[in-house]
Symmetry: C3
Subunit: 235 residues, 3 copies
Amino acid sequence: MRIIAADSGSALLNSDFKAQLTLSTAAVVIDPPYTHPFAIREQQALKRIDDRSVILDELKLCLELARQYRPDAVHVDVTLNSLDLASISAEELLKTIPSKLARRFMEPLAPYMVEVAREIRRTCGAPVLLVGKESVPVRVAELTAGAHGVLRGARKALNEGVKVLIGLPRACTSKVADGRLTLVSLLPAEEDVEGYAADEEGVLMRVQLREYVNPVASGFKMIEVNPKEVEGATG
Amino acid sequence: MRIIAADSGSALLNSDFKAQLTLSTAAVVIDPPYTHPFAIREQQALKRIDDRSVILDELKLCLELARQYRPDAVHVDVTLNSLDLASISAEELLKTIPSKLARRFMEPLAPYMVEVAREIRRTCGAPVLLVGKESVPVRVAELTAGAHGVLRGARKALNEGVKVLIGLPRACTSKVADGRLTLVSLLPAEEDVEGYAADEEGVLMRVQLREYVNPVASGFKMIEVNPKEVEGATG
Amino acid sequence: MRIIAADSGSALLNSDFKAQLTLSTAAVVIDPPYTHPFAIREQQALKRIDDRSVILDELKLCLELARQYRPDAVHVDVTLNSLDLASISAEELLKTIPSKLARRFMEPLAPYMVEVAREIRRTCGAPVLLVGKESVPVRVAELTAGAHGVLRGARKALNEGVKVLIGLPRACTSKVADGRLTLVSLLPAEEDVEGYAADEEGVLMRVQLREYVNPVASGFKMIEVNPKEVEGATG
């Protein structure tokens, strides 16, 4: 089964280690064994961490990939009993949201979400499932967005000549190899689940990355990026 | 302390990776260090995944083992503050269930549960504790049932000449060695906790097992079983 | 950033493996990379496992360390949206506690908590954050208290010549090396997070430690301590 999923990940932290801005939104194409992306579409996010409108960007990226890759299902980062967003109305969607607060956040977005979901179904016939936290492809999308977010943060550190603190997605760790930054899941039963970003501009060679636990967000790691001081270096 | 516990595990998945039928129910005898079964009683389950009547089969298997192995305590896969099911009435049991829905499911079963629990106590004096998710022996029983469920699924694949998809219990992985299929826990602090099934009929040599993450059930793995194509094979 | 945090950990278990008495309260000074204590203040707890008044001892130990180590923030093992306890009144504190039961437990303690928190702020200017379960320094304090608790339990076994059962903090394992007992976290993304206790009296050489899973507390390990039988030993 081929699945397309999207999520957003990695955040700029302030000096108190609190997440401020989401850095990246990514959609991924996943084939068996469902552990890593086969194709990626990504864009900068730069939205406030509590801005749920990223869901629309996520759906639009899924639509773009769906046109090219013909998935059997699309997974969305909204957890609502795996309902098919392409088969319900905005009103039905809102009625199924148990939390009043979440419903209010979703209300202005619901009609647009349903519209893009129906366009996805028209394009490739796939259901658009609100499977959210249950979905491994959504997790792969989160790690993929997270990896791109680290690259975006590293580029910012380099361009502005400043230290940048980046909060990673929940329970993952970074590695740099083969011209890629990869985020590997640390959750039980996700040993092989990962996302990555290709470092096409060679940003990673020009910065220093240090990974820490985030002291105010148990279960999350963070990366401190510093531009390398190359002047006067002997190496 | 000797503990007897029971649970059900592994499920037949449909082509959307959704669990349909529970495959196996097992009771286990556990001695220190409480990580693996010392003795096992197992039976086919084949009940719908939401059919709570498996609890009666689980209790009956505990009773059978209790007669032979004289436990100090029996652990049941119902989480109700570790109440002793052998010391309360069906009415008291139902009153302690906080969720209305769970209470309605339990209502027709409660009198029978209490009856078997009292029989267990008469047999060996042990309390029958509703310790559920807090119990490591219940986890060992779940992994043991899960391992037997994989064997049952493999036998089905072999007998019917079809591919079979089996969903494993939460956060565990399989290994085949020494004529056994073992499920090992992947949860934190459960490194050595496992259950197994002896492959007495040599089923495992005649099928191919592939383990994947279940893409629609984060934290769960699944096994795809295919009968080996032996005709014309040279190896 | 320098953080001071406190927590209590390890408990005496009864023969049914149920926690009875908390063994140790510890405050720790944490510097980057936030994974282990830089300085420790510890005291015996010996309070009932549900006695929330340990929070006052924890705050007082934080105050003592704050005088000497000038932290940027203090983390408390109460999870209330990271509120600053030094900036609110006891009434405001109680109003923010959602659970009625928790509020009733906290009511007699709140004025004293606020008083110590304000004293901490007067001493070093640091906020006293109710970050609780989100805090890695609180986890380090829990593991540090837990390690001291094991030593205290071992001393009890030695002094009284009896077997002692000690329940460890959630999801950690013990190791003995370099004259220390260390508790290492087993939670995802906490690979390097640990606390320790220096065995200055050489207690560990005179007892035998065996670590088990706690069969009635899934995710928790326990340690059985037995005084070594040295009389007549040939080794």
